[in-house]
Symmetry: C2
Subunit: 160 residues, 2 copies
DNA sequence: CTTTGTTATATATCAAGTTATGGTCTTTGG
DNA sequence: CCAAAGACCATAACTTGATATATAACAAAG
């Protein structure tokens, strides 16, 4: 079975990066599911941004995360419904809406930092250990390693 | 402006790979647009697979491309509407639907191979030249380079 | 003060991936 | 030889990114 994206090399690097990223996110989701946390893995960067930077307006979050503003608006609505973030108008500029973590959101972050993130970080670090050489080669090795042992299994093993 | 994904390192590698991949695809799309080709950059891998491997059933294509089967079904429908691929039943197995390039599809691939792909490949190769060291570092450099000169501008320059 | 332009956010729509499920066709085991 | 299991594909619903556009608030100029 030829892996066409791999064969095409630089030409399809974008598709290939996306494919690996999606694989990693799906595996990460599986780790989170098993640990009884109810949100999607893709929401964590936003929560982490609020945790690192403190309350932020929507546009600022978009720039910090490197995604477009409507994506932030949507995620914020979702997380607000779950009670993890809250939105308040800015005092000095009524156009801005300042997003911040609720107590529940802070609690979730704290639990994630303690129980989940280290596990994921270790698993990904293990996935990337001893990589060297050109980018395409490293990506190939990462793909091979993921195919051999998916990230969620690596996270489990690290637990033991 | 702190780049949160970058700061989080291994923890958000999946999101980060996806983000870079999407950036590359969007820039690639801009190169294609300028050259008056009407399909999305993300459809090229499927066409390239058919070109490399010859007519293939849907499931085989999915495996070759490393995506799920429904994604292939949708892309094939789209490309069939554009007249670039066609679908015919398999002789020996009525469940299979064999996808192949039409004359128009072959023509498009030929033109792309001649006019567009080398340009994109060169631009991406230039983007990745002289990279070394750990994966995260290389990704950081790629992001910096993309921010400084987007891929479509690199493709233009290569033309001149 | 009003008008005009800009900035911040929300909404709508599209794109392309995913999982889950169902309908045929094929294969296989009793 | 037929019924159950499996394989292949299509469809539906969801996710999460994108762009385009509308609305509302601010800023500056006449």
């Amino acid at each position: 079975m030829e892996d066409v994206l791999r064969s095409l090399g630089f030409l399809c690097l974008g598709s290939r990066l996306k494919r690996i990223g999606e694989q990693l996110q799906a595996d990460t989701q599986r780790v989170l599911d098993r640990l009884d946390v109810r949100i999607q893995s893709s929401q964590y960067p936003l929560l982490a941004a609020l945790d690192r930077l403190g309350p932020q307006p929507v546009g600022e979050l978009a720039r910090s995360l490197g995604i477009a503003q409507p994506g932030v608006t949507r995620s914020v609505s979702l997380l607000a419904e779950l009670g993890l973030v809250e939105v308040s108008p800015s005092n000095d500029d009524q156009r801005r809406r300042i997003v911040s973590l609720t107590a529940s959101g802070q609690h979730l972050i704290k639990a994630a930092k303690r129980d989940v993130w280290p596990r994921i970080e270790n698993a990904v670090a293990e996935l990337c250990v001893d990589l060297s050489g050109p980018l395409l080669d490293q990506l190939g090795v990462v793909e091979d390693r993921l195919a051999a042992v998916p990230l969620d299994r690596r996270a489990e093993k690290a637990l033991a």
